[in-house]
Subunit: 247 residues, 2 copies
């Protein structure tokens, strides 16, 4: 059986963003990413030395690992990094055979046929503040969304600033038929897992900072006729537990 670089398997916790925000879930995080976002909050699944150090597990071992966690959630979230770099069809089928529902989180840069088998796809294209090329992102998103027709997908865009907001508006206009969630940017991503950058804030401060940006975002969205069907959010897991890894 094929082995994959797995950086974390954890839960029970809840889904933090998007259509299933607040639903109990386990998470499987795969190492490897085709992006290098400035504010990435999971560098331990992105940076090459971390991915090299990740455990190698096959589909059977992953399911076993999940089943050894405390019981509860019916959903499993496959995330990364970008899990769409891997061939995970056998894993998705194995999870569904064990009666889990499967969500996947990806930036929408690369399509894989196994995504069709997932119960939910969160497509999260990266805005200008990520430092990635929005031109390339828009092009690959267009290809991805064409393939995703007929699946149960939604869009989620992280918004840190004015340029991100305007870009999210452009994407919403282009894909008006897709449910759209805007998530207030979490500054913590700039330090989490980076030994060279230290975040001295306690949970309350992290929460207050996130809510401050969510207020800014909400105040804009709610008077913007172009945004009347989007849903604004703040990462629920961060509101609950701050930026602890493993939640």
């Amino acid at each position: 059986m094929k082995k994959y670089p797995v950086t974390e398997i954890f839960g029970p916790t809840v889904q933090g963003e998007g259509e299933h925000q607040g639903k109990p879930a386990y998470f499987i995080r795969f190492g490897g990413c085709d992006y290098r976002c400035e504010w990435c909050d999971t560098p331990h699944a992105v940076l090459p030395q971390a991915v090299r150090a990740a455990e190698r597990l096959d589909a059977f071992e992953i399911v076993e690992r999940l089943r050894s966690l405390p019981p509860g959630p019916g959903w499993v979230v496959i995330t990364g990094g970008n899990p769409a770099l891997h061939e995970l069809g056998a894993l998705v089928n194995a999870l569904q055979e064990h009666n889990y529902k499967v969500s996947v989180e990806t930036q929408g840069s690369r399509w894989k046929e196994w995504l069709r088998d997932c119960d939910s796809i969160c497509v999260s294209p990266k805005p200008p503040s990520s430092g990635m090329s929005t031109n390339k992102t828009e092009q690959s998103l267009s290809d991805f969304i064409k393939e995703a027709q007929g699946t149960n997908y939604f869009l989620k865009i992280v918004v840190f600033d004015h340029a991100d907001y305007e870009w999210a508006k452009k994407i919403h206009k282009g894909y008006f038929f897709a449910p759209m969630y805007l998530s207030a940017g979490n500054d913590a991503g700039k330090t989490v897992g980076r030994p060279d950058r230290v975040d001295n804030r306690g949970t309350r401060e992290v929460v207050n900072d996130l809510l401050e940006r969510a207020r800014w975002l909400t105040n804009r969205v709610m008077v913007d006729s172009a945004m009347m069907d989007v849903q604004v959010q703040a990462q629920y897991h961060v509101l609950m537990w701050g930026n602890e890894i493993g939640h």
Copy 2:
């Protein structure tokens, strides 16, 4: 044209709970309620002297009032009190003719035919901590849900304590086919709009208290196999603006 007791028309703001949490919306609050919940956070739409003092407006005047507010939201939330005490069919149709989508919030104690015309129904039966009879609530909810089949409805239950949690679980089991949201109880409801009870907490404290209860609720739900498809929430408008009336 028939006139209704209207206690507030406000917005732009966002929907605070349920399936449309975080979506921009205007709110129309109707006076009058068949319940007297211990922790009601809108006594100004419930207590008889407040309802008597409420402005009387017809459907045309309500739409005019809405259109005079700053533009933005595409949704209008009809709430109360219990708006299902009134005959609001003409208003719902007028709003939809003006291209608004209409959400309604009701405890599910009384069915009205006009509810079928709404774009979304939030059914929010009241748990034991409300002080209302759960026997009566369960009976009327059963009748309500039968009528609601074929409409776009979901269940939302506020949870303050252990007894509320167990009751929510029972309701979820009985109506497993309905999307279910659990909202962490907001203590502020015990004081808002009640001159005899003063809340000296600032917004940060209100937010922290709400998040504390949301943590308790989330920690229970996420390890409870009976709750695997519910979504836990904290009122988004409270996270944004505390307990200010008019948000």
